[in-house]
């Protein structure tokens, strides 16, 4: 997951949003949808939401909370939390600008 969710194509951004919501604790799908809408202003359709959940679940980033209650709630796994941390760290890490990189490169 070093590239984050880039390999998820159109699901990459919603996946990031869902992971951020689940970082606050387990949520049922409807709550995830509402919270993503409230936080990001993004209207996550049901087809997209469950497409994201299926992808995250398959990658072991989220899991169903063991319970007989319906609807089922989802939470981040340890791997999911690590992935989120790694993505946040990558976003906040200072990067060398192309201009400064060019001045340090030997002229050819």
């Amino acid at each position: 997951m070093s590239e984050g969710f880039d390999d998820l194509g159109r699901f990459a951004r919603p996946a990031q949003q869902v992971v951020n919501v689940l970082a606050a604790g387990p949520r049922v799908p409807l709550a995830i949808q509402r919270e993503v809408g409230a936080r990001c202003g993004a209207d996550l359709g049901p087809g997209t939401l469950f497409g994201v959940i299926a992808r995250l679940e398959r990658r072991g980033l989220v899991e169903v909370v063991a319970s007989t209650a319906t609807p089922r709630a989802y939470r981040l796994t340890a791997l999911g939390a690590e992935t989120r941390q790694a993505l946040r760290a990558a976003l906040t890490r200072p990067t060398r600008s192309p201009a400064s990189a060019a001045t340090r490169s030997p002229a050819r």
């Binding site: 049901p46 087809g47 299926a54 319906t70």
Partner: protein, 237 residues
């Protein structure tokens, strides 16, 4: 709404179907939600994420769904064609207008026949599949014959149920159609031919003749929904 969810692969529906329905019960789907669900269904089929959904095409192949749709559409057209005899205004002599029924029988008979022949030999050996192709071709021939008018029309009209019975028997022998399909189809085919003969009350004859359309609808629905035809396909996989 559950109709849209049926677009998703079976394994997907088993895993997420209840949750999706619960969510849609809590928040009724808007038009964009419906579009999103349809888009999600295509995605779920193109990029299966749920174990067991990786082989949806083997469960219900596209060709089977197309043939099932052809049979179901043919059955519907056949029924509507005969129903038109009751609906359309009679001519000056009090005779029924049979133009729509005439055209419906030609196209619907060919459609049901092709589907019956091809579906009845799916998953069978090569020689049996050749018989299925021959049955489909014979139905196209019967439909073409009917275009030449009287008396060729009558030959084609009787050919449909007779070829259909052969296809139904072949399908049951191959284990593709359920056992009850032969007696049901034979009953409907005989009823249709009795209707053709005009030896009973005209209204009853029309209803009987519409019976074969029901067979087409049932066959089509089973093929689309993954009935025994699908089981035969799975055994090949």
């Amino acid at each position: 709404m559950s109709a849209i969810l049926r677009l998703y692969p079976r394994a997907w529906r088993e895993r997420y179907g209840d949750e999706m329905l619960a969510m849609l019960d809590a928040r009724p789907a808007s038009l964009s939600d419906r579009f999103d669900l349809v888009r999600g269904a295509f995605d779920a089929r193109l990029h299966p994420q749920v174990r067991g959904a990786a082989t949806p095409e083997k469960e219900i192949p596209v060709s089977q769904r197309l043939l099932g749709s052809m049979a179901a559409l043919g059955g519907l057209v056949w029924i509507l064609g005969f129903a038109s005899l009751f609906v359309l205004p009679r001519d000056a002599y009090g005779d029924r207008d049979s133009t729509v029924a005439f055209i419906a029988v030609i196209f619907a008979g060919a459609g049901i026949g092709i589907a019956l022949g091809e579906l009845g030999t799916r998953g069978a050996d090569a020689s049996s599949r050749r018989v299925g192709h021959a049955i489909a071709a014979a139905n196209i021939g019967a439909a073409t014959t009917m275009l030449f008018g009287w008396p060729m029309f009558i030959i084609g009209l009787y050919a449909f149920p007779i070829i259909g019975i052969l296809a139904a028997v072949r399908g049951v022998r191959n284990g593709v159609f359920p056992g009850w399909f032969v007696p049901a189809f034979v009953g409907l085919a005989i009823a249709t031919m009795v209707g053709y003969m005009g030896s009973i009350h005209q209204d009853a004859a029309i209803v009987l003749m519409g019976g074969l359309g029901v067979a087409g609808l049932v066959l089509g629905a089973r093929a689309i929904g993954g009935g025994p035809v699908a089981a035969a396909e799975r055994s090949l996989a």
